[in-house]
């Protein structure tokens, strides 16, 4: 009886060997797949929200750095005016204001103009290229580009202007559009002034 049971157990074991081998092989393959490095042809997943989130953060950063008026200007008009610091004569400063100023656009040249007359002086092509050396050619988010120009102009105007490529207005920007932006800016300031007067009189 015992011999028969042993023989039965042996036969069962022999019959189960192929199943065991197959199961072990499957487990080994699974372990190796988990341990193996990611395939070289595997591409990183594109995150469609990354740029939008980066721009959102950039707007917050810009808002926290610039003056309230400059932030409102950027929010409403899409550019910031920055005053120039130099002037040859006191007469060049009408009403004590700056002799010239810049319009700072995102990913477009900086435009120098005369605030009193609206005369366009020149455009300065400047960019803030990717220096990480990781390949690719990424740009700063739009609001970061504006902030970088604002910081460079308000802290060291000469350095950024000397690094820029200077052209007459019209090389990259349409002069008619810049004049229209100056008109929009003047209207915006007038409305803002009126609102301020109304709130003061109330």
């Amino acid at each position: 009886m015992l011999l028969a049971l042993l023989a039965l157990a042996l036969i069962t074991f022999v019959l189960a060997i192929p199943m065991l081998v197959r199961e072990l092989g499957r487990r080994r393959a699974k372990r190796q797949a988990a341990r193996a490095p990611r395939g070289e042809i595997e591409l990183p997943l594109y995150d469609p929200g990354r740029e939008r989130r980066a721009e959102q953060r950039a707007r917050e950063l810009l808002k926290s750095c610039v003056n309230d008026e400059e932030w409102a200007m950027y929010r409403d008009l899409g550019f910031i005016r920055v005053s120039g610091k130099h002037s040859r004569r006191e007469a060049d400063r009408p009403g004590g204001g700056p002799a010239y100023a810049y319009l700072v656009y995102a990913h477009k040249p900086i435009v120098a103009f005369v605030p009193g007359s609206g005369q366009l002086l020149s455009e300065y092509c400047v960019e803030f290229p990717d220096m990480s050396g990781t390949g690719g050619r990424h740009r700063l988010p739009a609001s970061d580009d504006v902030l970088a120009k604002w910081m460079a102009l308000t802290s060291d105007e000469d350095r950024v202007i000397h690094r820029a490529n200077m052209h007459l207005v019209g090389r990259q920007l349409d002069p008619a559009r810049v004049r229209r932006d100056l008109w929009r800016l003047a209207e915006w300031e007038r409305r803002r002034q009126r609102r301020r007067q109304v709130s003061r009189s109330e």
């Binding site: 990354r50 989130r53 980066a54 721009e55 953060r57 950039a58 950063l61 926290s64 750095c65 610039v66 003056n67 400059e70 040249p109 092509c125 400047v126 960019e127 803030f128 290229p129 990717d130 220096m131 990480s132 690719g136 990424h138 740009r139 700063l140 988010p141 970061d144 902030l147 970088a148 120009k149 604002w150 910081m151 460079a152 308000t154 802290s155 060291d156 350095r159 950024v160 690094r163 820029a164 490529n165």
Partner: protein
């Protein structure tokens, strides 16, 4: 500011704490070595207007500044 990403926090700490100051100095130098410009947003004492101050050395950072912003150096576009 990192192209393609926007704002990235590099390091934070209290410069009055020795260990944290060393960490901040190390990161500051690393960024400048990589060719970045560093600026601190400040308020002009005379006009009250906000502006930026470019810093080339950790010691140039105005006392009480709560942040230093690094951005790629400008070049002709």
């Amino acid at each position: 500011m990192k192209p393609g990403h926007g704002e990235v926090l590099l390091a934070e700490g209290d410069p009055r704490v020795r260990a944290e100051e060393e960490l901040l100095i190390e990161e500051f130098r690393r960024q400048l070595d990589e060719g970045m410009w560093a600026a601190v947003p400040t308020t002009n004492a005379g006009s009250g207007r906000r502006e930026a101050q470019m810093v080339r050395d950790f010691g140039d950072i105005p006392e009480g500044a709560d942040r230093v912003i690094f951005f790629p150096r400008a070049s002709g576009g």
